[in-house]
């Protein structure tokens, strides 16, 4: 999800538009189609086809489409209530997240302070953690007996506030990375110049910085809206049974009530909403391609000066400490509840209880799945990004760019059930194959890879490729000698994010993971699903391990990020 450097970094080096010569066009589009064939086939087979199959199962009765169901379902007051709540809470969550995280974006962009790299990784940890872990952690903060309760007798569980705060917790990093990433590359001298010319501080900010930032803010807001609009685990765990989003309702109708036609209608509604959000997102991304003067982020940050700046830094750190670090700290504290790391030691025992294997093996499983999922996501994502970068990419291709993001907005239960009924015949009977888990995880990983790679690839000056081609290099050689060295780091960052996202992926994995190979999040959920002190403690211990693995992966990414060699 490194939306930060992603969509931002290319604007400074807008390649010169090339006149495409007719002779090259045919070859160009053939190459583009070739590049796109694999990602298109992948998404057709592992996303579109399964989702279409499960929707058809709900809406097609005895071979006839029951499109009248759409009207029937939408006419129900319960459904309209769910729609209203889904939209309302997503808008409120987005607003609140911007409010809380924008000062953070500024502080990360403009200030230098010890531990900044680590802190940036820490605030990203919530984003890649599974909701089952986050829900439990968050309940420990705002729930009964949580810290707020002990200090001020304040309890927020089963109120909408718990949902909103948890959404801030989850999406803080989206804003910090997307907006902060661009902010750190804006040349502060522009604002200073405006002030020298007599503009007040506010006016300089409003007329110089804000217009430059606005598209990034819009993109971040839309991503937060997308994630909160499709919120599942947070709403289910913190909201209690009275609050329901579309995603929760789709899950309930499919998984519990078994009303597939209602579920299908709701899936289509969510689909339409997500497509609309993505369309607006694609538009804002394109709008950002107006030229901005960008500078190396390393030169724009400095130590805070004056009481005001120190107070701002302290305020942001305080918010991070209370909203982001505390819930995570509670997990750690609870995992240490037994003397002598008892819960951790118990993870290595095989007791024939919740698992066929010692829970600790879930770590190995998760890592293996995540490696495979990362390999798939990077392959598919890199091919797609390369195809999308080509200058001759038309509207169809740009549409494809938005389509690649769709898996982020389609319910995991829909995809999971779709896999079950669509991928059930040879040669594609994958239902009991281990590859199913990495495939499902890769669906969620690809958008992050594409978003990370695309801007970097676009920033590669097309004239370099041209020159290499003129000198007789084959397209493969051009890619290897020109593109690869420039995108290697972006590729690593993309791989790292796909890896972290795979590690934390829960919704789809839980449908298809096998009992002898549970992943970390699945093992946590299963331990939480059983009574008894040891099970609860082990769940906390496994969550802590998962959190540490994610944190380490993200810290490594941060190092890659700031180790600049000039191409950004």
């Amino acid at each position: 999800m490194d939306l930060a450097r992603t969509e931002v970094s290319h604007e400074g080096t807008q390649p010169v538009k090339q006149a495409v010569r007719p002779a090259r066009t045919a070859r160009g589009s053939a190459a583009r189609l070739g590049l796109m064939a694999v990602p298109v086939a992948f998404f057709a087979l592992f996303f579109a086809y399964p989702v279409a199959a499960i929707v058809a199962r709900g809406l097609k009765i005895d071979g006839a489409w029951q499109l009248g169901r759409i009207g029937d379902v939408l006419a129900q007051s319960d459904v309209r209530h769910v729609l209203w709540f889904t939209t309302w809470q997503a808008l409120a969550s987005t607003g609140l997240t911007l409010l809380v995280a924008l000062p953070g974006a500024y502080v990360f962009a403009r200030f230098d302070f010890p531990g900044k790299q680590v802190l940036r990784a820490v605030v990203t940890v919530p984003f890649v953690l599974p909701t089952v872990v986050v829900g439990t952690a968050f309940l420990a903060l705002v729930g009964r007996g949580g810290l707020f309760d002990e200090l001020w007798g304040l309890r927020l569980d089963t109120t909408v506030w718990a949902i909103l705060l948890a959404h801030v917790f989850f999406n803080y990093a989206v804003v910090v990375r997307t907006v902060g990433g661009l902010w750190s590359q804006l040349d502060p001298r522009q604002e200073e110049a405006a002030r020298m010319l007599g503009a007040s501080r506010t006016r300089a900010w409003r007329q110089v910085t804000l217009p430059a930032l606005a598209p990034a803010v819009a993109a971040a807001a839309l991503m937060v809206f997308l994630f909160t609009f499709t919120s599942f685990g947070v709403v289910q765990i913190l909201g209690g049974p009275t609050f329901s989003t579309l995603e929760v309702e789709i899950y309930r109708q499919t998984s519990q009530v078994f009303d597939l036609s209602t579920a299908a209608v709701l899936t289509l509604v969510q689909f339409a909403a997500v497509v609309a959000v993505l369309a607006v997102h694609a538009w804002t991304v394109r709008r950002r391609e107006t030229a901005l003067r960008l500078v190396d982020a390393a030169t724009t940050a400095r130590r805070p000066r004056g009481a005001g700046q120190w107070a701002l830094l302290a305020g942001v750190l305080g918010v991070i400490a209370v909203l982001l670090v505390l819930p995570l700290a509670v997990l750690v504290q609870r995992s240490l509840g037994a003397p002598g790391f008892g819960y951790y030691r118990a993870l290595t025992r095989e007791d024939g209880g919740a698992f066929l294997v010692p829970p600790i093996e879930a770590i190995g499983n998760s890592l293996q799945y995540a490696v495979a999922a990362t390999a798939i996501a990077v392959l598919i994502g890199a091919l797609a990004a390369t195809a999308l970068t080509r200058r001759d990419a038309g509207r169809f291709v740009r549409g494809f760019d938005a389509l690649l993001m769709l898996p982020l907005g389609v319910s995991a239960v829909t995809v999971g059930f779709g896999f079950l009924i669509a991928l059930d015949e040879p040669p594609l009977d994958l239902r009991s194959s281990w590859i199913l888990v990495p495939l499902a995880q890769a669906l969620v990983g690809v958008p992050f890879v594409v978003r990370t790679m695309l801007p970097v690839l676009r920033a590669v000056d097309g004239r370099l490729r041209e020159a290499a081609a003129v000198l007789g290099a084959s397209p493969w050689r051009v890619w290897r000698e020109v593109d690869l060295p420039m995108v290697r780091r972006a590729l690593l960052v993309a791989a790292g994010f796909a890896f972290a996202v795979s590690l934390g992926e829960f919704g789809a994995t839980v449908f298809i993971a096998r009992p002898d190979n549970p992943t970390l999040p699945v093992a946590v959920a299963r331990l939480l699903g059983r009574p008894g002190d040891m099970n609860y403690g082990q769940a906390m211990a496994l969550s802590t391990i998962l959190m540490l693995v994610c944190a380490v992966a993200l810290v490594v990414l941060e190092r890659l990020r700031t180790d600049r060699s000039g191409e950004f």
Partner: protein
């Protein structure tokens, strides 16, 4: 990395050989509470010559729905884990084919269902009951409730937490228990009283038991403040078995007059690829060794006459003497409507 992937692939190859050597593998599809001791399953594999592969499919409702969706081309041979509250959905959708497992005649008669067609085999039983936190009632000098009627009394105001009947199987079981006890004309009135007596409803058993309930290990840590929870009769022994060190007595108890009896069934899937293996597996699930192994693995009671239960189990989680029961046909006819009425009555 190639090495890791290869290792990952090869470790699962043995299970996927259903194409050629498939007849030697029998696949069990179950919900995620499935558990069995290693030596017990190994003995079955040795004696029968079949290798058992298990696929777990989420919670009970989800697993049944998935099995129905894939019934034309099922993922396995035997499905385990459809209970009496969902039995009709499975049977009406043609999930199972008939097979009378060896040992069916030794099953206690009250657990047999679908007797003329033998499409399902009862495997285990358990009671959904209100659990209470012994410490809370001790400290407050209050007698724990015993019956459903007790729960609406003023001294138990704001003490009970239960699960959403629309999304949780103990929640549904508790609702069915009240419907069985008070009948079509009375259960809604009972829930109105329960609501004004401050019953709290959460979505899942995990939340109710591990977060809200003050008597469980998880709930104590989470500082749960509800000393009454809808859970299972077998929850108290679990609190003992999974505690380290093990206490002499369970920290929780069961309100015996609040119980609803659940029975779980297994069956041979309609289009099973290895029906012979499936039959052997069903026979095994009714064998004494499996039935006696279940309590400490799945925290349920055997259905077989004469099967012994471990002492910790019978001591801290005895079966209810007179649980509420409902005819599966009656459940089938009313379940959806009851859940709907319950939802608008209690949640809105």
């Amino acid at each position: 990395m190639v090495g890791t992937l290869a290792a990952c692939g090869s470790s699962s190859d043995d299970g996927d050989g259903s194409g050629s050597g498939g007849s030697k593998t029998v696949t069990l599809v179950s919900h995620d509470s499935w558990a069995v001791s290693k030596d017990v399953i190994a003995a079955f594999e040795k004696n029968s010559g079949y290798k058992v592969k298990v696929l777990e499919d989420g919670d009970a409702g989800q697993a049944v729905n998935k099995a129905i969706l894939t019934k034309d081309n099922p993922q396995g041979d035997v499905f385990f884990g459809v209970d009496n509250t969902l039995l009709s959905r499975a049977l009406d959708n043609g999930l199972f084919q008939p097979y009378e497992a060896k040992g069916s005649d030794l099953v206690l008669p009250e657990y047999r269902a679908d007797r003329d067609k033998h499409r399902v085999t009862p495997v285990d039983t358990g009671d959904i009951c209100v659990n209470y936190d012994k410490a809370y009632f001790g400290e407050h000098g209050l007698t724990p409730p015993k019956t459903l009627d007790d729960l609406v009394k003023p001294e138990y105001k704001d003490l009970l937490v239960t699960e959403n009947a629309g999304s949780s199987s103990p929640g549904l079981g508790f609702l069915l228990g009240t419907a069985a006890k008070y009948g079509d004309g009375g259960w809604e009135g009972y829930w109105k009283k329960l609501k004004s007596n401050g019953v709290k409803v959460v979505d899942s058993w995990e939340q109710a038991y591990n977060e809200e309930f003050s008597g469980s290990a998880g709930g104590k840590k989470a500082k749960g403040d509800r000393p009454l929870v809808v859970s299972y009769a077998s929850s108290p022994p679990v609190e003992v078995v999974y505690a380290d060190p093990q206490p002499d007595s369970a920290p929780t108890g069961v309100a015996d007059g609040t119980c609803f009896r659940q029975v779980e069934y297994a069956g041979l899937l309609s289009n099973a690829k290895n029906p012979e293996g499936g039959k052997a597996l069903l026979d095994f699930m009714l064998s004494k060794s499996f039935q006696e192994d279940m309590p400490l693995n799945m925290f349920v009671y055997p259905v077989l006459k004469g099967a012994q239960v471990p002492e910790v189990f019978s001591k801290f989680g005895p079966q209810a003497k007179d649980p509420q029961t409902l005819d599966p046909a009656k459940i089938a006819d009313n379940r959806d409507q009851w859940v709907k009425s319950w939802t608008s009555l209690v949640l809105k």
